[in-house]
Each structure stands twice: as structure tokens, then as C-alpha cells.
Point group: C2
Chain length 190, copies 2
């Protein structure tokens, strides 16, 4: 039996740099946490923005904190297509060459030059959990889910180190394709 971890399904969301937080929400504004996420130090915020593409708008998309060095918009492919952009599958933070998009907040707008991605599916593991699973940071693994929409996801990135905690991150397309709810167990295939 391979190592098992719970899935955490990511709805469309965004991370903001401090400058964009002020533009969207007002001078001196800082993010208001509403809920801690499983990854240590990460939290959902009260703040929401509208994301505008050439063919439509995604209303009220949740901001996740804390502030980051660069603003990053994470969409499922279904979301990206709905607003008319083609967002590439990327690891978090690898934003070079990604499409821009417009953000609208209560205090202002930001026209991003880049930053819209479809998140590369990945599994977070603490160093001890990675050891137990027999994998290491940056490995590419396959993860299996059972059930009536049973799936094996290949090309899942391992992200391990301090500040990571066991959790498989999939987006809503991936979760729905596999018929998953939060907390469903996936198994790393060896």
C-alpha cells in the first residue's frame, strides 16, 4: 500500500502582492483572515475581487493570504475558458509568460501583465511525511483515487519541506472529474 493523503480542493482564488492589495482595497489596507488553511501560515481572507477576461467576469473570487511577492490568479481550466483566456498549467510562483488579467476590487482596479495560471497539481508533505512516503521535494508521482469516478492522476508534483503539511491539492476540474469531496484519500502509487 502506498502513502495516503487527504485531498484539498482548490476553488478559483488569488494571491496578492501588497501594492495590489492597496490598489484594490484602499491605502494601508491589509488582508483580513477568516480561516486558516491546512498549509501552515496560509489563510482564506474576507476579501474578494472580480476577475475580468475578454469574454466574461468571475465575480467575488476569494483572496488567500498572506501577501506574496507577486500577484497570482489560480483558475480551473473551466474558469479560464469561461472568461476567454488560455492559462497554462504552472507550478505556483512560475509566472513568466503567463497571461495577464484585470482585477476589480472595491477601491480600484489592477490590470495584471501576467499571473493567471492553472495550478500544477501537487502534494504537500512535511519532511517526516515525505520520508514515510518514500518521496522527496520536486519528485513527480502518480496518485490514485477510488470510487465511481476512480482516477489515477499522473504528473503530480511533490512539494516538501518545512511549512508543508500532508495534503493533495487539486482544482475543481480535477476534483469533479474524480468525483471527490474535500478529505477524500488519495494513494501515492509506487
Amino acid at each position: 500500500m502506498g502513502y495516503k493523503a487527504e485531498v484539498g480542493l482548490s476553488n478559483k482564488h488569488l494571491h496578492l502582492k501588497s501594492e495590489d492589495i492597496e490598489t484594490l482595497f484602499g491605502r494601508g489596507h491589509t488582508l483580513t483572515p477568516t480561516k486558516d488553511l491546512k498549509q501552515p501560515g496560509q489563510f482564506a481572507c474576507e476579501e474578494k475581487v472580480d476577475i475580468v477576461g475578454p469574454k466574461g467576469t468571475l465575480k467575488g473570487v476569494r483572496v488567500l493570504g498572506p501577501a506574496r511577492p507577486e500577484t497570482q490568479v489560480e483558475l480551473a481550466m473551466t474558469d479560464a475558458r469561461a472568461i476567454g483566456i488560455t492559462a497554462p498549467v504552472r507550478e505556483s510562483g512560475k509566472l513568466s509568460g503567463t497571461p495577464g488579467i484585470k482585477l476589480i476590487g472595491p477601491a480600484g482596479e489592477v490590470e495584471l501583465d501576467y499571473g493567471a495560471i492553472v495550478a500544477l497539481r501537487h502534494i504537500h508533505l512535511s519532511p517526516a511525511q515525505a520520508l514515510e512516503a518514500g518521496v522527496k521535494d520536486k519528485d513527480i508521482v502518480s496518485i490514485q483515487f477510488g470510487g465511481e469516478r476512480g482516477v489515477v492522476f499522473n504528473n503530480v508534483l511533490v512539494r516538501s519541506g518545512e511549512g508543508h503539511e500532508s495534503e493533495i491539492h487539486l482544482d475543481t476540474d480535477e476534483g469533479n472529474a474524480a468525483g471527490l469531496n474535500n478529505g477524500a484519500l488519495g494513494e501515492i502509487l509506487k
Copy 2:
């Protein structure tokens, strides 16, 4: 190497019985074909309807023809959630116990008592193609797709017989989770 087939991605759509066609589009109305589908005798129609759930509306959803004995609405799970219904994963035509939904056409409305499903993923094969693939009607197989979002879909239903032609049918959630475009090749795993 297993048998390979092209994928056909199904966007949300519906099949209508004759009575509902007349209610939605007018007395004596028959469907207007615009494009033949790969499955023999099946076609996309000019007609579109709005699909209304408790939390939202899917505008302009395509009708597929010909008319069927029962009206059936096929949604991706993402679509179903967007309008606030929980549609079960079902084989086409197995509508007992499925949720109802409201349809709005240019000439009238239909309040379905049942008929909203998420299509069970399946592969169509002619009798000769099934023989070549080494599978038979109603088998459950696994189908692999490569690429950066490479996936193995388990629990894929084989539908084979006269009137079927080689094609893997996935919905938009499944296609996006695997990063597929129409015509991508999937391989039946043995």
C-alpha cells in the same frame, strides 16, 4: 500497446422528447440539425434552451438530436454545482431517481421531474472495433491519456454494437482535468 481511440469532449447539452420540443419551441416544431456528430444518426441542433436550477441559470445550452423517448440533461459536475443541483453520475437513459430541473425555450417552459445527470464516461466502439480492442459491450475499462496532465480514467463503460463508432466520451471537467482537446488519443489499458 492497448487499443487507442480519439476523445470527444461533451459540453453540457440536452436531449429532448418530442412533447418537450413542442412545449419549448412551439407546436409542430422539429429539431433543426446543424452538424452531424461522430456517433451515427446523432446531430447537434440549432436549438438552445436555458437550464434553471435553484442557484443559477445555464444560458443557451445546446440541444442534441434526434428526439428521444425521455428528456435528459447532461451536465458536468461544475455546471451542476453552479446552478445548485446535485446530479448523479449515470449511464445515458438511466434516469430513475435523478433530480428534475427547469428548461426555458423561446415558446415555453418545461419543469422536469427528473432527468439531470452527469454522464458516466464511456467509450463507443463498433462491433469490429470492440473485437480489435478485445472488449465487449458493458465492460468496464481503464483509459490512459498522456501529456502534462496525464491521467488514467478508471471505470469507463464500453458501449458497443451497431450504431457505435470509436470515440471516448468525457465531459468538460474530465477533459480539462486531463488537459485534453477533441481528438486526443486515449489508450485502453489491459
